[in-house]
């Protein structure tokens, strides 16, 4: 059979058509259920769209929050880094540390590892990459108020400030600051003794006044806690608890635990 014949035949042939009645009957019968289906499908779409929208909003919210936190951290970190690096006292201190390091050691680069704010004390602790080194910042004034190592290391450290005598008034102030401290208040205190001469003025600069009183707090059990008080700003800077007097408090009270953890005690 050649192509032409087949083509002709295919054009001639009449393919079966469906009866109009069948088509009409189906159209009428199916219409109602189809329209109901459209309605149902629209409802589903609206729900789906709402869910997608909520999800998108939540996602955007999370992203914005993360971004803001990152920016804030970055800005804060930058500010503090600037504060440390531009401060002559700090530079001097790190230069001193550097001088103590062996000649062939790697170059010393100061980096802030962790920033923790203590809202109760109004201070921010900057944990830097030198052993036990913390820089304490006045959260409100954005000034360095504590330098170098935690104060309880000051006496043994390479960095040492001068020792001076406190006045009677300063001694009284140191006692008051210590007594008003919420952590000390929880203890059964037997005596509070402000050491004199005891003050660490760990500033190389005259324009950075920083007077610290060392207060010895003795509990009823005869155990000793040392409190370093910033007399210039009327606040407790550091508490040392070498005899672990506060151990039981620390384990019981998460707030205290965190406080000492922050201080690196």
């Amino acid at each position: 059979m050649d192509e032409e014949k087949l083509e002709k035949k295919l054009k001639e042939i009449k393919w079966d058509e469906v009866d109009n009645e069948i088509v009409d009957a189906h159209r009428e019968k199916f219409e109602q259920s189809l329209l109901m289906y459209v309605e149902e499908e629209n409802r589903k779409q609206v729900t789906k769209r709402k869910m997608r929208l909520s999800f998108a909003f939540a996602l955007v919210g999370i992203l914005v929050f993360t971004l803001l936190v990152s920016i804030s951290r970055f800005t804060q970190g930058g500010t503090f880094e600037e504060l440390i690096m531009k401060n002559p006292t700090e530079l001097k201190m790190y230069n001193d540390i550097k001088a103590l390091l062996p000649q062939n050691s790697l170059p010393l680069k100061i980096k802030i590892n962790k920033i923790e704010e203590d809202k109760n004390l109004g201070i921010t602790n900057l944990y830097v990459n030198l052993k036990n080194s913390i820089v304490i910042i006045d959260s409100k004034q954005r000034n360095i108020i504590g330098v170098g190592f935690p104060l309880y290391h000051a006496e043994q450290s390479a960095y040492r400030s001068q020792i001076i005598n406190l006045t009677e008034r300063e001694i009284e102030e140191a006692r008051e600051i210590t007594l008003s401290n919420s952590f000390i208040k929880r203890l059964s205190v037997k005596s509070i003794e402000v050491e004199n001469p005891t003050v660490f003025v760990d500033s190389y600069e005259d324009n950075l006044p920083y007077r610290v009183g060392k207060v010895k707090v003795v509990t009823v059990n005869g155990k000793v806690i040392t409190v370093f008080v910033d007399l210039t700003r009327n606040r407790v800077l550091d508490i040392t608890d070498t005899q672990n007097v506060l151990g039981e408090y620390i384990t019981r009270d998460p707030e205290i635990h965190n406080f000492f953890y922050d201080l690196g005690v």
Binding site: M1, H26, L34, L35, Y37, N42
Partner: protein, 183 residues
Amino acid sequence: MKEISDEEALKESLVHPEVFKIIYERYHDRIFRHIYKLTQNVEITKDLTEETFYEVIKYRETIIKSGVPFEKYIYRISTNEVYKYFNKEKKLRKFQGKLYEKEEIKGITDDKSEEIDNEKLKEAINNLPELKRICIIMYYFEDKNIEEIAVILNKGKSTVSRILNEARNDLREALWEKFEGKE
């Protein structure tokens, strides 16, 4: 009053379901007839027509976004439904262990008359593989041109031409013995 276009009606139906009636009334009969031509079975045609409209409703947004004219899209969906049905049928037959006769185009040799009649040609068309059958029916019995078939099947024009040629060859082969004898 200006007549609303298919695409507008489809879009509007997302908010007002009753507008879908416009689409339904415009296309029900055409799609029903189209499917019937391909399947030659009323019950199957009913099912597949319904499936076609359900699919249209489900994918309204995709159809609107696609930019393909709605008419072509609905034909594409319905033809696809037929194609899926044919495939399912084929698998079922295979599963049941029956020889699917349509797989192999048999020569129509049992006819005693010399002229090839329409019924034999129809039988040969119905014995064509699915895609070839669909192309032949759309081309010859629905007066669709190659371009339209290509859009409906979502294939290239050259592919459709090739399928049509192959289908014609298959038909010739199936009818060969008959005509050879005559010629």
